[in-house]
Subunit: 401 residues, 2 copies
DNA sequence: TCCCGTCAGTAAAACATTTTACCGCAAACC
DNA sequence: GGTTTGCGGTAAAATGTTTTACTGACGGGA
């Protein structure tokens, strides 16, 4: 969960050839852009070039339908009870005729509500391109759209946090609440929301030290399911590639419950069998290298997310072994790639879409009834095992060399 | 690019086991949610529960610093020229003391500018979880943030389009411009923007029949590079899995330039060697099945995107062949998974991040100088070959059976 | 001395809504 | 017959800015 990727964590470098006569994308940095303007310059249109064309306002509707501003406003807000059906219809007709659309900006002003939520993500490389974030955002979007709320995107870069722009966002009236994805212990500024009834929901992580609203996957169950599954298959020599458990509580929950359940079954892992893989493909690969070095006869590895599991595939292959046969590999998350890898990855399915949607619904509740914001809750979303080809009964293999 | 996925296109079904004593995620539909409220109810805080706490307004700053509203506004907007240094400082100090933040809502009202752009995506399954969209959105975000613009997300569902909400969005004043990702020929409503100077930019596609602003990858170059690379390696029996070229012009460009260049090299593909793979993993797999059926001695397949190439891997393996050895596979896009597949996928690297950023910069230009919106341009972003293990010189293999 | 221009700043209108408090009228109640 | 009540509606204040057009003071040139 760190924005800087260690040099060792680069994907295997491909040979990159520039198109002939064209500047190539230089490694990592932004490529030089060759602009080809093929647009046909058109004559300027005759209509005014003023910022916006004149639009019908509520005032126009009032005049057109012969009622007062208030009446139009009431009809608009379905606060109709004391408006007669006839009048209402007149107003609606006028709106129709004038193609009237209320201004979101102006509507928000008087009661300071923007009908907009901010989705805040940490400043990772191209954060929005990550399935994990993407899936959550899709869920948030869906739940927000149902109530006619908009979603704005925000990235919490260092500057952003230093200047407390997340607060500005709220004071701004440009946003009614903040949903924070990818929160870690590193984000100390969350303490500002500790016990406060400000509209903030932490998505898929939570904190012991602060009272904050949160919605998370059921990681304790996930850990137990992983342990049960591997034990049932007959594994005894098990390795674990954890997430950064000191930074992410949900990651800690997963690891703890996994180890505890293994212990219940009489299998005790010591520190030699556990390596932190930082949730990334490349560090996952390195972690697995390390595990296999420490115990070359490992029969199964449980990875705290699918990306690291994909790294583990590479590591196992590099050791001359076959993933899913010589070494069973289990992931967590069920990202789309999981089912496509070879062999298909056994993993724990997490419904991130639902996590996002639930978090958003919680947020909307708080906004509608601020009193409820005072009791802080954590909601758990259930998970399920997805068993595929990458896990099987252990095969005994001779110690190498 | 269709929102409904054919039943045949489901990923290989995994065995899904519910956690004991817990409701499982039912296939496809939203899982039943088990809510675990572990929040400690806290006493309501004593502070008022009114919608928002009172904030300092520009008026307060004016009073505090003993100047007029106008002066404060001028300082705020760095329209300082006619304000003396001393006064400016007094105002800035007052702002500091009162922790003043201007209201975005109120600022937008007078000149009808929200300093916000909308990113519109078609109603695909969890669109935001797609790397392709995500990468573009990241680019847009970055370019927008530089100029202090916000990004709001919008999904163009059928209802949305029918009610012309994209127009509402603009009239609304809630948004200053629209960036449309994932546009296809299906989106007929784009004709409303044909030749209009309304702030709309189409991202990574363009149209022959309409004058619209657009920024796209250099697909013609990409097609030629693909052809050159395969020919150089010695391939003659080449198959092509295209995108939906009737719906997406960039896809057509890629296919056309690929075929043309192959022709230049004396290799002519007829319709038997080309199958539409709809840009999806599963349909890509099926398309490759079909190609191999039609010509079992195919030595290379060029896929119009990486997802279909991953499907092709499955298909080739299912035929008992080894991808990258028996059949060379080339993709297009260079999504993160490409480098992780086995063998790593040879593909054409497209800088979607930059496409998004460039599109956004174009948008901002138009907003700042509406006159420029009148000449419609298309901008091309260069691409590069990324050669990895999935392509090699052809090996002759006996006709099967 | 008068006129003009510049400097430094201000008053007030405009933007498009919501919301609060009120009003006139008729029917119902005692 | 006077008071209440409810209905259908309205006037006006409030929300927080930007922008246009103005003002007063002061210095310089004729």
């Amino acid at each position: 969960m760190d924005s800087s990727t260690p040099a060792s964590a680069q994907p295997p470098r491909a040979v990159v050839r520039p198109a002939s006569g064209m500047v190539a994308a230089s490694n990592g940095s932004a490529p030089v852009i060759v602009t080809t303007d093929i647009g046909t310059p058109r004559p300027l249109s005759t209509r005014s070039v003023s910022p916006k064309p004149p639009r019908a306002s509520i005032r126009d509707v009032a005049r057109e339908s012969g009622v007062s501003l208030t009446t139009v406003s009431l009809v608009l807000n379905k606060n109709d009870s004391r408006i007669s059906a006839a009048t209402r219809q007149r107003v609606l007709d006028a709106m129709e005729r004038l193609a009237y659309t209320p201004s979101r900006l102006a509507r928000g002003l008087p009661n300071r509500r923007a009908k907009t939520l901010a989705v805040l993500v940490p400043a990772l490389q191209h954060a929005f391109a990550d399935v994990y974030f993407g899936e959550i955002i899709s869920g948030i979007y869906e739940a927000a759209a149902e109530r006619d709320f908009h979603i704005v995107l925000e990235v919490a870069r260092r500057e952003y946090v230093r200047r407390k722009e997340y607060m500005t966002l709220l004071d701004d009236c440009s946003v009614d609440g903040i949903l924070f994805i990818g929160a870690t212990e590193e984000h100390r500024w969350l303490s500002e929301f500790d016990g406060s009834t400000k509209p903030m929901v932490v998505v898929n992580n939570h904190f012991r030290q602060w009272k904050l609203h949160s919605v998370v996957c059921d990681y304790p169950s996930a850990g137990r399911m992983a342990a049960d599954t591997l034990i049932e298959m007959g594994h005894k020599r098990i390795g674990h590639i954890s997430g950064p458990s000191d930074m992410v509580l949900t990651s800690q929950e997963l690891t703890d419950s996994f180890l505890e359940r293994l212990g219940d079954h009489g299998v005790r892992l010591d520190q030699r069998h556990i390596v932190d893989g930082q949730f990334l493909v490349e560090t996952g690969r390195l972690a697995c290298d390390e595990l296999l070095k420490r115990d070359p006869r490992l029969s199964a590895v449980f990875c705290a997310n699918d990306k690291m599991a994909l790294g583990a595939y590479q590591s196992v292959r590099a050791a001359g072994l076959v993933p899913g046969k010589d070494v069973s590999i289990m992931g967590c998350d069920d990202i789309p790639t999981a089912a496509l890898s070879d062999p298909p990855l056994t993993t724990i399915r997490m419904n991130f879409f639902e996590v996002g949607a639930a978090a958003c619904r919680r947020m909307l509740e708080m906004i509608e009834d601020p009193a409820r914001a005072a009791d802080f809750t954590m909601q758990r979303i259930p998970v399920a095992m997805a068993i595929r080809g990458s896990c099987a009964a252990p095969v005994v293999r001779p110690a190498k060399k």
